[in-house]
């Protein structure tokens, strides 16, 4: 069930136009610059600093509550971080050069005589493992990053510099696809979104050998995320930038509105790096809920006191919970499912073998972590963004906390939004996430030739996670 919304002429014009995306990116880049400036030079008091308020409250709320659940990786297509690198590499701001040509230093410096093209991205990094590790690395410092404008600015500066550096040597958005810690989970959760860019008729692609959607053409760039549209099975790696809509000469690519979560319906051939992203994100959501939202002030101070012995204990706890406890529990559930199914596959006993195995049952069951994890992250995000969103008004008028009043909103008082309603939003979101997760567990069992009862352990895991989270917030 899907509908090609890009077939409506006005919408198609809209989606194919470069101006819209470019325009939004210019705005986000401007905001990004203000974030960096206020972070470096503004007040260190987070609540009064534009950087903290607009990144960790406004942007985070938008990303988690709207962009990812409803628009997939749309954010990636207007993100300021890769923009300077893009423009440099394209040697163009809006209209592409002939053939959508890209320019990297590698083309000049490292090109062997007779060969062309840029350096290929290293094989061992062609997955999201670096993004997973990057997320955890940022998570270790998150109590500090979240509350210090300076550290937020420095972190974002590192992001944009690494992105720029990568784009000097490697074509396209290698940073976004393979390195960005945000891109990892945004990609995995974007499978829920009710929108997708896909080819209309695979047969047309088969017969079109030029593949301008991959190579680029006068009309646009080759897919910045290294996708071949005809092979797209899920939103995970598609930023919906619309380049393929522009470059396909056969008008064979469309922007679809579809059943939410359709990408998850196939639980076979799932990837272990994405499975691990889901597990790690689940672990992190729990740690954050305990540390940041819980009543223990000492814990918060410890998590923020980077470098102290206490902080190292926190790091050890966070890493072992996200990398060992949660994945370990999940692995046990998958193992148990095989016992229940009656014919355990011996290859699953060995984790290394499971990682190598393409069609892993573990990674199949891990699809449940997408609805479950997203629901839990939405619940967590609701718990702290809404109450503090009203800081956005004064921060707009007085971004540096220097006593300015640009728009007359500097004096607006802190008012928690929806403070009485949040639990009533969290509960339904968690319930929907859980129901979809259990349905997916059942589907995984069936698609892997297991009887229904084999889905029980993973379903119980999901129910337990939701009960645990409810208890953290509501008891």
């Amino acid at each position: 069930m899907h509908y090609a919304i890009s077939e409506i002429p006005v919408i198609k014009r809209f989606l194919k136009s470069r101006w819209l995306q470019w325009g939004i990116t210019v705005v986000t880049l401007a905001v990004f610059l203000v974030v960096i400036l206020t972070g470096l030079f503004g007040t260190p008091a987070g609540n009064h600093n534009f950087g903290i308020v607009y990144v960790w409250l406004v942007w985070w709320a938008l990303l988690k509550l709207i962009f990812v659940p409803f628009l997939g990786r749309f954010w990636c297509s207007v993100c300021p971080i890769p923009a300077p690198g893009d423009w440099l590499q394209r040697r163009a701001m809006i209209t592409p050069r002939r053939g959508g040509k890209l320019y990297t230093l590698a083309t000049k410096l490292f090109r062997k005589p007779g060969s062309f093209g840029a350096r290929p991205w290293p094989k061992f990094l062609r997955n999201i493992w670096a993004q997973n590790l990057g997320f955890l690395a940022v998570a270790l410092f998150s109590a500090l990053i979240l509350t210090s404008p300076l550290v937020t600015a420095l972190t974002l500066l590192v992001f944009i510099l690494v992105s720029l550096l990568v784009s000097l040597f490697y074509e396209r958005r290698a940073f976004c696809r393979y390195l960005c810690p945000i891109g990892g989970f945004v990609g995995v959760y974007s499978q829920i979104a009710p929108v997708a860019v896909r080819v209309k008729d695979p047969a047309v692609c088969e017969s079109h050998t030029e593949k301008t959607c991959y190579t680029g053409s006068d009309a646009g760039y080759g897919c910045p995320y290294f996708n071949l549209p005809q092979r797209l099975q899920a939103n995970t790696l598609c930023s919906m930038c619309g380049e393929c809509l522009r470059t396909c000469p056969k008008d064979n690519v469309a922007f679809y509105v579809r059943v939410p979560g359709a990408d998850l319906l196939n639980t076979r051939g799932r990837r272990m790096d994405e499975a691990f992203n889901g597990l790690m994100m689940l672990g992190a959501a729990f740690i954050y809920s305990v540390v940041l939202i819980g009543p223990d002030g000492g814990l918060k101070a410890t998590a923020r006191a980077v470098g102290t012995p206490g902080w190292f204990v926190y790091v050890a706890a966070l890493l072992s919970f996200s990398l060992l406890v949660v994945p370990g529990l999940f692995w046990l559930c998958v193992r148990l499912s095989q016992v229940l199914a009656g014919r355990p596959r011996p290859d699953m006993v060995d984790i290394a073998a499971a990682v190598r195995k393409r069609d892993s049952l573990f990674a199949g069951y891990a699809t449940v972590l997408v609805p479950l994890g997203l629901a839990i992250w939405v619940a967590f995000t609701l718990s702290f963004t809404m109450t503090n969103l009203s800081y956005a008004w004064p921060a707009l008028s007085d971004p540096f906390g220097w006593g300015w009043n640009l728009f007359g909103t500097a004096g607006m008082a802190w008012t928690p939004y929806l403070s009485g309603v949040i639990p009533y939003l969290q509960v339904p979101v968690l319930l929907v996430g859980l129901i979809v997760a259990v349905a997916l567990a059942m589907r995984t069992a069936h698609q892997h030739q297991q009887p229904s009862r084999a889905a029980l352990p993973v379903s119980a895991f999901c129910a337990l996670a939701v009960v645990g989270l409810l208890t953290l917030y509501m008891a």
Binding site: P44, A45, G46, N47, H48, A143, T147, S148, L292, I293, G294, P295, D296, G297, G298, K300, A301, R304, S383, F384, T387, N388, W414, P416, S419, G420, I422, P423, V427, L430, L431, L434, I435, V438, A439, M442, R443, H446, P451, S452, A455, L456, S459, A460, C462, A463, V466, V467, L470, T471, Y473, M474, A475
Partner: protein
């Protein structure tokens, strides 16, 4: 074949409907639970960067709650989610909050006066017992999980 498939569809819808009804029931059904007799409770909460002491406060529904907020260092506030009331305190100048705990459940309270870097996460919890909303949510979760399993069971 088509007949059995059709029958399965029907049972699936039936299970889904029953599950939804039970979830709604668990969440919304009025329960004649009477807690302990209401009393007046005086609670002193001490605020310091970045925590409330005690961090968790338990009262019964119907209690008249008098919170005496003391600050041990700088100016802090206490805003009670759900009840949408607040007070503030400076060292030597305590604040007071008096209300009837007429809504059950858990309510976060948070510092209402920016007091430093971790201020947005300076959070405590008031639990008004019997904590039915939590019990209802847990019941609904279990029903939803079992129901979803039943719907997709083959």
């Amino acid at each position: 074949m088509i007949g059995t498939q059709f029958a399965r569809r029907k049972t699936q819808w039936l299970f889904a409907g029953v599950t939804m009804a039970l979830v709604a029931l668990a969440l919304l059904a009025p329960l004649p639970v009477t807690g302990a007799a209401p009393q007046e409770r005086h609670i002193t909460i001490s605020a310091h960067t970045f925590a409330f002491e005690p961090g968790t406060v338990r009262v019964n529904r119907g209690d008249t709650v008098v919170i005496n907020l003391e600050s041990a260092d700088v100016m802090h506030g206490l805003y009670l989610d759900g009840y949408e009331i607040s007070t503030r305190a400076e060292p030597g100048q305590p604040g007071e909050l008096r209300f009837v705990a007429d809504r059950d459940g858990a309510f976060h309270f948070r510092c209402a006066v920016p007091c430093g870097n971790l201020h947005p996460f300076m959070i405590g919890k008031l639990i008004v017992e019997p904590n039915l909303p939590w019990l209802r949510a847990v019941a609904a979760t279990l029903i939803a999980a079992v129901g979803a399993g039943a719907v997709f069971w083959k």
